[in-house]
Amino acid sequence: MRPQVSEFISGIKAVLPILIGVIPFGMIYGVLALDAGMLPVQAQAMSSIVFAGSSQFIATQLIGNSVFGFVIVFTIAVVNLRHLLYSASIAPYFINLSKKWEFFLAYFLTDEAYAVAIAHFRKLEKDLEAFNPGERIPKILNDRYTYKNFYYLGAGFGLWSIWQISTAAGIFLGAIIPESWSLDFTLALTLIALVVPTFDDRASLMAALVAGLISVFAYALPYKIGLVAAAFVGITVGVILKKRL
């Protein structure tokens, strides 16, 4: 198999556990969008035009309450601010790509695709660092690093497809997965599996703890602004600790 294809498939596989959790979310979004008075075609289109779950949820609420258009746009923008951080964090891994690829890949930069890809990229880097300069790096590892954009694309495209399908299911069938199955919890669990290996030094652990606590206490703030504030303070704490060590 060509390395591009096998990396693409690895990316899809890596995002699979998350997809289980995304399905009920997509369906609930579809149901809420219709309840808010959106046309089926609009509800579906939003899932590919905006393609950002939590902001779509909040948007349906605002649309249902006939809030002013610019307020809806503003809210979606603020809720999606964290994507700036993802963009900055993942950018160094895409520097060798053409502009065309960069424009294409940016579309798939969701929480889930980011979490899966960055965990993979960092692990690859660690594996590569284990080799001494001049030592021969196995072809398979080299290929995995060279074609890591295909891994990301697999994760992003897998998520995108399921988001579209589950939105459609919500629109046409309603939420057919009972809430009592708690499948939405697989989302948090997958993120736990991806974040825990990043606690590889004291600074990272402290950055995570500070960000987590602030996010919990600022949870009531509108626009998910607490999340962005928490991330910035956590990152700053990490940088300060790293410098002092």
Binding site: A59, S87, A88, A119, A211, G212
Partner: protein, 105 residues
């Protein structure tokens, strides 16, 4: 404002946020402090997403053992720490949650 127009503007902004640094960074070297900062983005942002998700039920903070998702999450953290396997972490976390729900609800 027309709903289509709202969607297109909001979608363009969201896409712009995603594209921003990927496009800007190009092949320039990133300054040291920012590079250090970026290293902490995954632990900080992902933890900030997960923790409220697990600790809140609706608008209420549930810091007690009646919060089954919290118990399942603590076990999931241990599994992730030991195995580094997403599949095992998700599987064991879900089983713990289902068992708790089956026996205590």
């Amino acid at each position: 404002m027309n709903l289509w127009l709202i969607m297109i503007i909001a979608g363009a902004i969201t896409y712009g946020l995603r594209l921003s640094f990927i496009l800007l960074v190009g092949d320039r070297e990133i300054p040291g402090d920012i590079k250090t900062g970026l290293y902490f983005v995954p632990p900080a942002v992902l933890t900030a997403i997960i923790l409220p998700e697990v600790l809140y039920s609706g608008d209420e903070l549930q810091l007690n053992f009646g919060n089954f998702r919290l118990i399942a999450s603590i076990i999931a953290v241990l599994v992730a720490w030991k195995t580094k396997s997403p599949i095992l972490t998700v599987a064991i976390g879900m089983i713990v949650l289902w068992v708790l729900l089956a026996f205590f609800v």
